[in-house]
């Protein structure tokens, strides 16, 4: 399984790299350099990083196929868990800085505001994926694990809706993220329709 090229240091290095955004934000918060509205910066930035990590996670499978490097699979779980990590901070900043844990207000928000509904849905869909991310859960669930983890498609879609619906007028960035998502999904559809024919992919 383990190729000698995937040296032991790659995974820890990638781990640290994935921490850079949160370290950067923590440093910015500490030195008060997150701009005029730092709490908003925290929420926005962690939301964007959640989406980026979801897309990075979705990138692994097509990349393995194109580059023929199955070794990349060992980094997918970590990327997915970092998506959940940033999503958790993102949700946390909303619950704390926006609503100050006023659960009644939060419930009204979920009902009244479509972008909140979509965002909370995306987060809730990620929870079972994070919980079943261990090797043990993977073995115990067998084939069901693969089916369950297809929820990441729905979660990312809900995350994109969340982004579209919160934007006031400038849709450029959500369109870019949605386009990347579309490409990554298309790569999967093409694979599943050609894999049986050619046997290799």
């Amino acid at each position: 399984m383990r190729t000698p090229t995937a040296a032991g240091w790659v995974k820890p290095a990638l781990f640290l790299l994935c921490l850079v955004p949160v370290i950067d934000l923590a440093h910015g918060a500490w030195t008060n350099t997150l701009g005029v509205n730092p709490l908003e910066t925290l929420t926005r930035s962690t939301g964007t990083w959640t989406l980026r990590f979801l897309l990075l996670t979705l990138l692994v499978t097509p990349l393995i196929r194109v580059m023929r490097t199955p070794a990349l699979l060992r980094y997918r779980r970590m990327l997915g868990l970092f998506a959940f990590f940033y999503a958790s901070i993102h949700l946390g900043t909303y619950l704390w800085f926006d609503k100050f844990f006023d659960w009644q207000e939060i419930w009204l928000d979920i009902q009244d505001r479509l972008f909140i509904t979509a965002g909370v849905t995306a987060f809730l869909l990620l929870v079972p994926l994070a919980l079943t991310s261990t090797r043990r859960a993977q073995r115990a669930l067998g084939n069901a694990w693969n089916r369950l983890h297809r929820l990441i498609y729905v979660a990312t879609f809900a995350g994109l809706l969340h982004y579209f619906w919160l934007v006031k007028a400038d849709y450029l960035e959500p369109i870019i993220y949605a386009s990347i998502f579309a490409v990554l999904m298309l790569a999967r559809i093409r694979k599943s329709s050609t894999v049986n024919v050619s046997g290799v992919s």
Binding site: G35, V36, L39, E105, D112, A169, D170
Partner: protein, 316 residues
């Protein structure tokens, strides 16, 4: 590219070669080149309109709040001015793209004195007042800003609106060649706003040329804008080039873009739910906890009578 450089890094980068300074330098060079024509006049008029120049000592006003001022840096670096970019930090960075010289305001419609006016014609500089107002953005944040200007009524009375003038329509500059935000149809340019004539004539409504004792910075709507403190910020239209007295309710930019979210009146109202933001609370910039939003942004005593008998949920 998948990974975008974080905004803070952008700032660090731009600190190396500040694009604003770069552009201002270019503008300065251009002005030098063009300076042959009317050197003395150009310097005098151009100098008066430069942001950062102090406006003497404007009179204080009983309409001012005594709340703590938002730091000037915050009020000038966290702006919604889509003509100069769609992110809060864009307008200050792109400020030099707004050309405020020369500047005229076209006055049209139902009034006795239509025509082309200079800023000084509309705003008598010897009558400037400082008004410290709360500013409540529809996005649920707020500031306290010391504006400098004259009541809009002072200017409008000089223009002598006729009895047919039931509304006043305003228009922002249209300059897609220079204004980066107008290169994409994010809004239906030019930005337009409007007030009912009694709202426009209300003593709180300020025709504004300065803030913090200085000439308005470009990103805050130089050289001339209005400030309507009991309405959400987007009603306080910036960089005005046209004032038109009309009979029917004029179209307004955000209402045209998303009619179910932004009404014509857009009075600050904690009881009227917005599809995006709960309007019950607001974050005063610089504060951690949120404050309760006040009816008419705390100006109910002065303006509530304008809307007596109106269903404010319907006319939001």
């Amino acid at each position: 590219m998948l990974i975008r450089i974080p905004k803070r890094s952008d700032e660090k980068e731009s600190a190396v070669t500040d694009p604003e300074i770069y552009r201002q330098r270019r503008v300065f060079m251009q002005q030098c080149a063009a300076g042959m024509a009317g050197l003395a006049g150009g310097l005098l008029v151009g100098g008066q309109a430069q942001a950062g120049l102090t406006l003497g000592t404007p009179r204080s006003s009983p309409y001012s709040t005594d709340e703590e001022l938002t730091p000037m840096h915050a009020a000038t670096h966290y702006n919604n001015f889509y003509e100069l970019g769609y992110k809060k930090e864009d307008p200050s960075r792109n400020a030099a793209a707004l050309k405020t010289e020369p500047w005229t305001v076209e006055v049209e419609g139902y009034c006795e004195n239509p025509g082309t006016y200079a800023v000084e014609d509309l705003v008598p500089m010897d009558q400037l007042e400082e008004r410290i107002y709360r500013l409540r953005c529809v996005e649920a944040w707020s500031m306290v800003i010391p504006w400098v200007g004259v009541p809009l009524a002072t200017a409008l009375k000089k223009l002598r609106p006729t009895s047919q003038a039931r509304y006043v329509a305003f228009q922002t500059i249209l300059d897609p060649e220079n204004l980066p935000g107008q290169r994409r149809n994010v809004l239906d340019w030019p930005y337009v706003e409007g007030l009912r004539i009694d709202e426009a004539m209300h003593p709180l409504t300020l025709l504004t040329v300065g803030m913090y004792g200085q000439v308005l910075p470009n990103q805050n709507g130089a050289p001339i804008r209005i400030v309507v403190p009991w309405k959400y910020g987007f009603k306080s239209i910036k960089s005005i080039v046209r004032i038109r007295f009309v009979e029917g309710q004029p179209p307004t930019a955000w209402n045209q873009a998303t009619p179910n979210e932004y009404g014509f009146y857009s009075n600050v109202n904690p009881e009227v739910n917005h599809p995006r933001w709960s309007q019950r609370r607001e974050r005063r910039i610089g504060e951690f906890r949120k404050r309760k939003t006040l009816m008419f942004n705390g100006y109910a005593e002065e303006v509530a009578h304008l809307y007596s008998g109106m269903d404010l949920h319907k006319y939001f």
